[in-house]
Amino acid sequence: MADPSSLVFASIRELAGLLRRGEVTARELAEAHLRQIERVDPSVGAYLTVVADRALAQAGAADEQLRRLRQEPRSQTASSPSGLQSSAGGPELLLGIPWACKDVLCTAGVRTTCGSKMLEQFVPPYSATAVRRLDERGAVMLGKVNMDEFAMGSSTENSALGVTRNPWDLSRVPGGSSGGSAAAVAAGEAVFSLGSDTGGSVRLPAAYCGVVGLKPTYGSVSRYGLIAFASSLDQVGPLARTVEDAALVYEAIAGHDPLDSTSAPRPPEPVLRTLEEGVKGLRLGLSPDYFGEGLDGEVREAVMGAVRRLEREGAQIVEVRIPHLAYALPVYYIIAPSEASSNLARYDGVRYGLRVPGDDIVQQFSKTRREGFGPEVKRRIMLGTYALSAGYYEAFYLKAQKVRTLIRRDFEAAFARVDALITPVAPTVAFRMGEKVEDPLQMYLTDIYTLSVNLAGLPGVSVPCGFSSQGLPIGLQVIGPAFGEPQILRVARAVEETSGVRGARPRVAVGDAR
């Protein structure tokens, strides 16, 4: 059997090779990860629910399938040096690979809390489409990971059910809202994870935790079973250790879903095929709108350093403008809470989840919601309810939608000139826990570079590009036009290749790994 510490830090492709060749079993792989969770999660706190028995059962089924695969004659196609059938496409590699699921995605028979007291005991009778697709590929779900309550937040400090820490520095936040998803991957507690991104919730924690996070084009991954925060912005995305792994998971979960009317009626973008093509000849946009006031010097340097390397690789750097970018934050904080106020109205204690009895039905509604929701969720429900109220709708919600259209057009104009945009992910590296909790506006500014991507429905990927002087990961964001996943992943792959940060592991995760 392979060295356990390398097992929990290997990539999907590496592990798939070991599994196909029989050098490790899916069960051993699952057990190695369950041990790693036992070892590091008390300090990291990524998991809310670990489903060891279920994972081992899934792993057993995967081993069965792997055994059959190995017995099949290899005559049709020559086996690749790694022992993989060359016919095996990307998603097939997920067979037996352990992963972690953000607790915002419904998992049949496994409690799905959304980081809220409201749903602490909620066990959905069905699985999200993205989860189902991973199940079908034979991936092994280890458990459900922590998040800001109902995906509202940028630090995972808003979870009602636990604290998640940044594996690179336990005094710092992992970012949010998919903080558990990012921390689990960074700490070797899962090979990859799924998160959800409404305003940067996959990309930001990926950047803070030094992993890759992809927010796909709106409509390219089904939202069915994703507990809604803001329906027109939410998108499911993978977090992984490498760009290739993220691409692989993306290919497995993307594609039309008849259960989601907003799901794009087109086949998923094949991204793996072109991943290694490099950036030679690509036109990459830099916008001064992303490099203004508030951007930390070290972050700027790390991003610009990566840009210079891409230029050396043959990319052409072009200056573009996103003139309405400055309005993205206020527009986002009208639209997202408005939709949230409506999406979260169903938590009333009538059918499932928390119920706090009252003297009459109205009292039961309000007591349930008073006790079930945390302060950030309440704040956004209030904001949204206000913005949608008669007399304010035109001034707030409708106006915000109009500006949203302007922002979308800015991007369209930019992408008429360039293949992808390069920006920072966040103004700073991971901040300290508690630092911004009392100041929601400061917290909201964390997402300033990511949320316009959601407003425009575009794909964006966060990829590590360096470290701060304190040894904290710095992320770089590549934004593409709608369904431009192939080119943004190509660019991200080139950044990964040239930055030399791949393979770095946080101390907490390896400390006593042996």
């Binding site: 959905p124 259960l259 009317s261 907003t262 169903r346 059918r351 499932y352 008669a390 709708y393 919600y397």
Partner: protein, 505 residues
């Protein structure tokens, strides 16, 4: 006061003298699709509670709506039949409010861009055609149903919710305030119900809730153009109740106004038992539904070709059919109206009439006997569509009656039996020996038997009471078990008794 107002309203004209009523209706029609509007669950009525539910219609976290194309088509059908413009671009909106029967705490409805708008429906009122404007027809979802432990939510220890109905597609039809009397409102609703039946988009059963109506009513003096303060009447659960509730409300409002009072804008519930309306909630705090575009359903773009295809598929509607039947079969307007109320009834009539020379006779039998037989067995006219053999039965009965082989009364009995048993009328007549007796010797024997048995009647006949002969003829019919030819019996009776008032002894 209310009791007085009711009593007054029963006898008096439907709108109090000296006033004009302004009435608008909001009608909800449940569409008869196989599956729900945003998921694949069955819409069958009457299943055990919560057996036709899924994550989508329960609004479970993470579930998403997918629009049922059939529901859209049905709504477009209804809109076209009501002469509406069909929107080339329609969207869905969320109407947010909290209620235990509303699983998502919002209803996916349509707000500013409904599927259909600006139409009308013509109604015959007292021989005049009235055109009632349709403001809009929009598509939305049904809510669940609350079942309280006692009659009302307020007095209940607990309430249960049945979500089988949750997500059944509905259209809401909103009229202009063009109706002027409670009777007009009822006639409008009857016509609308017929139209929906003809279209096949709903079974429009008020008692099962698949047709529901709320009514707005205000009063003003004739000639005034300004509208008075209106009240909205809810819980109207039959066609008759529409008229009764509005009549009650018109008289109530008139009494308040004539006393120098002021109408409070409010929602009132119709209470069938007491025949009154009862305040439900004051409209002073208008509910803010916080409508906004439904982000989970992309806007709907209906191209002209689609709308045209639906238009081509529309059947002949009741008004046109009435006109045609009047012309083709020389039916009086009333007959045409009764027969055309239900498409199956009209179809039945047309099939029978085309096999029988005289449309009016067929219409008499359809309006009289066929409807009576259906009513007695609690059946809807809809069942006629599935009973082509009944047409044959009716025609055969008509043939037997017209040939004088059975009397009309026996014919009615035979028709009912043939409907129930499925046996041919001819066969029933033969088996039960119902053929009319025309044999004079037999008839005379019965006549004499009747005269002998009823000396009092004979005496009063002779004393000048001609109608006593009718009684005696009736006795003969009884003796013959209905088989005697009544015309012949009458003649024989007069021959035996002589002229009334003339003593023969």
């Amino acid at each position: 006061m209310p009791a007085q107002a009711t009593a007054q309203a029963q006898a008096a004209p439907s709108v109090p003298p000296g006033w004009e009523a302004v009435i608008g209706l909001e009608i909800h029609v449940e569409l008869a699709t196989e599956s729900k509007i945003y998921c694949g669950c069955s819409t069958r009525f009457g299943a055990p509670p919560n057996t036709q539910v899924c994550p989508v219609c329960l609004g479970l976290p993470g579930s998403l709506p997918v629009l049922n194309e059939k529901a859209v088509e049905y709504a477009v059908r209804a809109g076209l039949a009501l002469h509406c413009r069909i929107a080339p671009y329609a969207k869905f909106d969320r109407k947010n409010y909290f209620y235990p029967d509303l699983p998502k705490a919002y209803q996916i409805s349509q707000y500013d861009l409904p599927l259909c708008r600006d139409g009308y429906l013509e109604v015959e009122v007292g021989g005049r055609t009235r055109r009632v404007g349709i403001i809009r027809v929009h598509l939305e979802e049904e809510t669940g149903k609350l079942v309280h432990s006692t009659a009302t939510i307020a007095g209940s220890r607990y309430s249960l919710v049945d979500y089988n109905r949750s997500g059944v597609p509905l259209i809401e039809i909103v009229t202009q305030p063009d109706l002027r009397t409670p009777e007009e409102a009822r006639l409008f609703l009857e016509e609308l119900r017929s139209v929906m039946q003809y279209l096949g988009v709903s079974d429009v059963k008020m008692e099962e809730g698949s047709l529901r109506c709320d009514a707005n009513i205000s009063l003003r003096r004739p000639g005034e153009t300004r509208l008075g303060t209106k009240t909205e009447v809810k819980n109207i659960n039959s066609l008759r109740a529409v008229e009764r509730a509005l009549r009650y409300e018109a008289y109530r409002q008139a009494a308040v106004l004539e006393d120098g009072g002021r109408i409070v804008q409010e929602t009132r519930g119709w209470d069938e038992a007491s025949g009154t309306t009862i305040p439900m909630r004051s409209k002073e705090t208008v509910q803010d539904y916080r409508y906004f575009p439904e982000p989970d359903i992309p806007p709907l773009a209906l191209d002209e070709a689609y709308v045209e295809r639906v238009r081509q598929s529309l059947p002949e509607l009741p008004a046109a059919r009435r006109r045609r039947l009047m012309e083709q079969w020389q039916l009086p307007a009333y007959d045409a109206w009764v027969i055309c109320q239900h498409p199956a009834l009209a179809g039945f009539f047309e099939q029978a009439a085309s096999r029988w020379k005289d449309g009016k006779t067929v219409s008499n039998w359809v309006m009289g006997e066929v409807l009576r037989i259906l009513g007695a067995s609690g059946e809807e006219p809809g069942v006629l569509a599935g009973r082509p053999e009944w047409v044959e039965h009716l025609v055969e009965v008509l043939r037997l009656v017209s040939a004088g082989r059975i009397s009309a009364n026996v014919g009615k009995e035979v028709l009912e039996e043939s409907f129930k048993s499925g046996r041919a009328p001819e066969e029933i007549v033969r088996a039960r020996g119902l053929e009319q007796v025309g044999d004079e010797a037999q008839l005379l024997a019965w006549v004499r038997q009747a005269i002998e048995a009823n000396p009092d009647a004979v005496a009063s006949y002779r004393a000048g009471k001609a109608q006593a002969a009718g009684f005696l003829v009736g006795q003969v019919m009884k003796l013959s078990k209905g088989k005697a030819n009544p015309k012949t019996v009458g003649e024989l009776m007069r021959r035996e008794l002589g002229e009334p008032g003339t003593s023969s002894s």
